[in-house]
């Protein structure tokens, strides 16, 4: 008979083995994610002294974060930018995913996916700088247009504004948006599309009634994968955005590192998180009829 001690027996049960397997990840996540998050939450309800943090409970930081016109504007701009990026990216990603899934020979698909990931070979920072080179005052676009004589002086509106931020972020997140949609499209049984046509619908109608609803889980995933990180992006608005393109991450950085106001910076960060969570949940709620997946 097996007579192991209590711990040994525990790790041989299925749930025990499962816990043992995820524990390194879980510990890492607790230390690196939950602990800082807890610290931020605490800071956000403390008072800010001149050179130190006064450990007294207050909601003044939140009131400041939600009522100050400047902070509100930055938050709204951040939402606008990330929503624009999401819409642009997902709309552009869908045709690419569709093409690779439906029109590329199966033996070539992995090659195509490989090509789609090429932008990741360079660091994010370098890619952002490259967009600076492309869109800048003496950048590729301007000097090209000047050389061909289409314009007489460099365009100012293509750089250091919200539009430039959207362009740069949409490019950076394209692969993230393509892959979930591609996976969802790959899972669609091709005979379903033949069935749609067999039952009298045109190819386009079949797309609307069969392909699109079945691809929705991938679209939803893409939307969240693009929307959530872009709203907190720091590098692109900092380098490309100019003064008008600053987003919430830049504001947080300013409060915490430049002005040394940890409590207010934390309150803005927590508020931004709450807004992202609320919008994401609302979005999931709206699309839930597409997500009650088969089997």
């Amino acid at each position: 008979m097996d007579s192991g001690n209590g711990t040994g027996r525990f790790f041989r049960t299925e749930s025990g083995a499962g816990l043992a397997l995820i524990s390194p990840t879980a510990i890492y996540a607790l230390l690196m994610l939950a602990a800082p998050l807890g610290a931020i939450l605490l800071y956000s309800v403390f008072k800010d002294g001149y050179l130190e943090i006064i450990r007294e409970f207050t909601l003044a930081n939140y009131i400041e974060a939600w009522t100050n016109e400047l902070y509100r504007q930055v938050m709204i701009r951040s939402l606008f930018v990330s929503l624009s990026v999401t819409v642009v990216t997902v709309l552009l990603a869908f045709p690419v995913a569709y093409f690779v899934s439906f029109h590329v020979a199966p033996s070539r698909k992995s090659l195509w996916l490989f090509l789609i990931t090429i932008p990741f070979w360079t660091s994010y920072l370098i890619r952002v700088f490259l967009w600076k080179v492309i869109l800048g005052y003496n950048g590729v676009v301007n000097s090209g247009l000047l050389w061909t004589g289409i314009i007489d002086e460099p365009l100012q509106w293509i750089n250091y504004n919200v539009g430039a931020v959207v362009t740069t972020l949409a490019h950076a997140y394209a692969p993230f948006a393509i892959l979930p949609i591609f996976v969802a499209l790959e899972k669609i049984d091709r005979s379903l599309l033949e069935a749609g046509q067999d039952l009298g619908e045109s190819k386009f109608r079949t797309f609307l009634r069969v392909t699109l609803p079945l691809a929705m889980p991938g679209v939803v995933a893409s939307v969240l994968i693009v929307f959530i990180p872009t709203i907190g992006d720091y590098v692109t608005p900092q380098l490309i955005g100019g003064p008008e393109g600053r987003m919430v991450a830049n504001l947080i950085q300013l409060q915490i590192l430049k002005l040394d106001n940890y409590p207010l910076g934390s309150a803005i960060a927590v508020s931004a998180m709450a807004i992202v969570t609320a919008i994401s949940l609302l979005f999931l709620l709206m699309t839930r009829r597409y997500l009650k997946g088969p089997k």
Binding site: S191, E194, Q197, G200, R209, P213, P294
Partner: protein, 365 residues
């Protein structure tokens, strides 16, 4: 006055190439209105390709496919008077049973209530009354099959195409569905075209069967003719079991052929027993296992009789299959005997009398 249209589908010298691969090699055949027609053959013989040319999922390289007298060249799948039951059933997983069945009714001019009623009737017809609100992915294989049938039949197509619809089902459910499909077909009177690799299924269900090998129709006939008078050795081998013995043609005239077969002696065969297609290996005769009979003590032969030794016994419950090596032959013959009450199952090595009749065999040359 009605004009009789006996032909629902007509293939005129249909060829199909996939690159260099010649998938359909000159199919010429017609399927009659209201019949249960099967395309039977091993995998890769082109039967599914042929079915898909009717549905419009597959173009043809040359020739013509006509449905109800109209050439289907250039007519897309959604404009053809055909509906299909797919091998995988192709039930839309994001829709309920009801929405699946009503999928093709979008442009139907009837009111919403009438459509709802039509859907309910279609579900009742396939034995799924009350299942309308269920999620499609919560159904069993047999139920999906029925949904696929209802979804196709509700559109009242001229032709219903069935692509190996029963191959994914358990034996019991499969046999039940076979009978139900026959009943449905008689009820609705629609032309059914079934693709199958299961010869038994084809024999049970069909009015006529086209046996296909390598992109060609080897024989097109009703089940009984196909079984009793297979047009070639290949067809005979594919449908059921057949014993083949080398034969020598010794005399022939316009109506009869005389052959000499080792172990059986000389036989006088009528013209309809003589088939072409022995695959260029001289001549051979074929016996079905049930056309040979083991004679038990005291039984009188019906026609002729030979002696042999049992070399193998396979017991199936209702039947016993014996391999019997007849005196003077090289290979044993397979003989099936029904296990009627009181009849013993014989042992290997038993000497036995075997009765046979020249009328039951087929000559391939």
């Amino acid at each position: 006055m009605t004009i009789e249209k006996p032909e629902m589908i007509e293939f005129r010298d249909v060829h199909k190439y996939y690159g260099d691969y010649h998938a359909l090699r000159g199919i010429t055949a017609s399927i009659r209105a209201g019949e249960f027609f099967s395309l039977l053959g091993p995998s890769g013989c082109g039967k599914t390709t042929l079915l898909r040319t009717i549905a419009g999922f597959e173009g043809i390289s040359s020739g013509a496919v006509l449905i109800d007298g109209k050439n289907m060249a250039g007519v897309p799948a959604n404009k053809r008077p055909t509906n299909m039951v797919f091998q995988s059933y192709a039930i839309f997983p994001h829709l309920t049973v009801e929405e699946n069945v009503g999928f093709g009714l979008r442009r139907d001019p009837r009111s919403k209530d009438e459509k709802t009623r039509a859907v309910a009737e279609a579900l009742e017809m396939v034995g799924l009354k009350g299942y309308g609100k269920r999620a499609a992915h919560a159904l069993s294989g047999g139920q999906r099959q029925r949904v696929a049938l209802a979804r196709a039949l509700i559109l009242k197509p001229k032709v219903l195409l069935l692509d190996e619809p029963l191959s994914a089902l358990d034996k019991k459910i499969r046999e039940q569905m076979q009978l139900e499909l026959i009943r449905l077909q008689r009820e609705v009177g629609i032309t059914f075209v079934l693709v199958t690799h299961d010869q038994e299924e084809a024999l049970v269900m069909s009015d006529r069967i086209a046996v296909m090998f390598e992109g060609e129709i080897a024989q097109l006939a009703d089940p009984e003719t196909l079984y009793r008078r297979p047009a070639s050795r290949k067809v005979a081998d594919f449908i059921g079991t057949m014993n083949f013995l080398p034969a020598k043609v010794v005399a022939e005239d316009a109506n009869h052929t005389d052959v000499e077969v080792a172990g059986f002696g000389r036989m006088h065969l009528s013209k309809d027993q003589v088939m072409a297609g022995n695959g260029g290996e001289g001549a051979s005769v074929g016996f079905r296992p049930e056309t040979l009979t083991i004679l038990f003590d005291g039984q009188q032969p019906t026609d002729r009789e030979s002696m042999g030794t049992i070399t193998e016994v396979v017991y199936y419950g209702d039947m016993t299959y014996y391999d019997v090596k007849l005196d003077g032959t090289e290979e044993p013959m397979r003989i099936s005997m029904r296990n009627v009450f009181g009849r013993p199952v014989l042992d290997i090595g038993t000497r036995t009398r075997v009765a046979w009749s020249p009328g039951a065999l087929v000559l391939f040359r």
